[in-house]
């Protein structure tokens, strides 16, 4: 994709000049414990060694509402619809204040989750797919989206090993699927995966089998990122 072909899913937000975005946008999606942050970290190191400026974004990191969003999650007091809009506010604040300036400066933006995780979570909680698509239609179309897919078994093993327990939201406990957290976790992750499959069809991104070893998967991701960057930065060839 050349900067000239840069576009948003729908019409761009007011004030955004897409032609001025010379950087790249690479997104990694996937549940907690799928290895997302590890891969983002490895990619960032590698890209910087290759001489690319790298900027990182992720959910709940906006200056505008990041803190309130974290508090709202703790308090568990907002309705799903309010949470959807709150997350969207957080997303667009980062889009306009971090992603866009970084892309304008020619940086490679690595997004530790983008619009797809909030969309899948909201869909599981009953949000209408078209309503969500419209809500996030001002987002910039990424140059690459890697959806890390892991089996229930791997996910549970990794989560328990690294956190010594399960997270309320990642187990979908707010949905009342089951009283037992373990059972709820499995059911919830399956639902999220089903929503991701629908999003994959709608937005056409690829899933990566992330059950294997980190280095193997990282090699696969790097290979694809390399191709994307070759097209975007023709004069900056990665050997």
């Amino acid at each position: 994709m050349t900067p000239r072909e840069r576009r948003c899913f729908g019409s761009p937000p007011p004030g955004l000049d897409l032609a001025r975005l010379t950087g790249a946008l690479v997104v990694i999606e996937g549940p907690d414990s799928s290895g997302r942050s590890t891969h983002i970290g490895l990619l960032a190191d590698w890209l910087e060694q290759e001489g690319y400026a790298v900027a990182q974004v992720g959910l709940k990191r906006s200056r505008l509402v990041g803190k309130e969003l974290e508090a709202a999650k703790e308090g568990n007091a907002l309705s799903p619809r309010t949470m959807s809009l709150f997350y969207a506010t957080d997303f667009y604040d980062q889009l306009e204040n971090t992603i866009v300036p970084a892309m304008r400066a020619g940086s490679v933006v690595l997004a530790d989750r983008y619009i797809f995780t909030p969309m899948a979570r909201d869909a599981v909680r009953g949000a209408d797919a078209d309503w969500l698509a419209s809500l996030y239609s001002k987002a910039i179309v990424p140059d690459a989206v890697f959806y890390l897919q892991v089996s229930d078994r791997t996910l549970v093993d990794r989560t328990l090993a690294s956190h010594g327990g399960l997270d309320y939201w990642e187990s979908g406990m707010d949905l009342g699927l089951e009283r037992d957290w373990f059972g709820s976790f499995i059911k919830y992750q399956r639902k999220v995966r089903a929503e991701f499959r629908k999003l994959q069809q709608r937005y056409g991104f690829e899933a990566i089998n992330a059950n294997g070893s980190i280095p193997g998967i990282q090699t696969e991701i790097k290979e694809r990122v390399r191709r994307v960057l070759h097209a975007l930065y023709p004069h900056h060839a990665i050997p």
């Binding site: 004030g15 505008l64 803190k67 809009l85 604040d93 309503w131």
Partner: protein
Amino acid sequence: MTPKREPGVLIAVEGLDGSGKSTQIHLLYEWLYGLRLRVHFTEWNSSSLVRDATRRGKRKQLLTPTTFSLIHATDFADRYERQILPMLRGGYIVLCDRYIFTSFARDAVRGCDPEWVRRMYGFARVPDFTLYFRLPLETALGRILEGRPRLKYFEAGMDLDLSPDITESFRIFQARVMQQYEGLASEFGFTVMDATRNVHDQQQEVRRIIGAGVDLSHYRTRVPR
């Protein structure tokens, strides 16, 4: 949209700052309350959970047209699902000082895609009565500006670079908001109120409209006060 209509009645007031709409809806509330009816009042931008973020965003001027729109939608959604919708389900008359049309008007002036804004608020029920308090722009501006107020940055549309002078920016911004309201009035069938008349006469008119359009006997309170 909710398939089954809630038994309550939804009444909204809209209009420019200085149109007197808040006074009118307050007096309407007092009347309905005095009649021992189930009535609830809610105002724009007042959800406690979202308020801190909105306030900081405004004070530090962090908001863009898009996030300005979204944060108000978040506030509205919280009040809608926590108060407005349950009250309507419970058979209340719900009075809203500003409703989704305030966003439709302001966000359009800020350059947001009107279709995007409408779809975002697609979950909200259209009011049974939207009373639009119309008055000449100069009258509205006069009422606000004669008190020599300290206008706020976003309230005056300073984010739009209309003028470096905040009062002038406020004038231009209000003119554009008014233009939007006029379009919305026909699109959504607002009941247009003549906001140049005195407060008492306007209130008589408001009470006549609501009294004629709503069978108030259905809304008697069941809880002793």
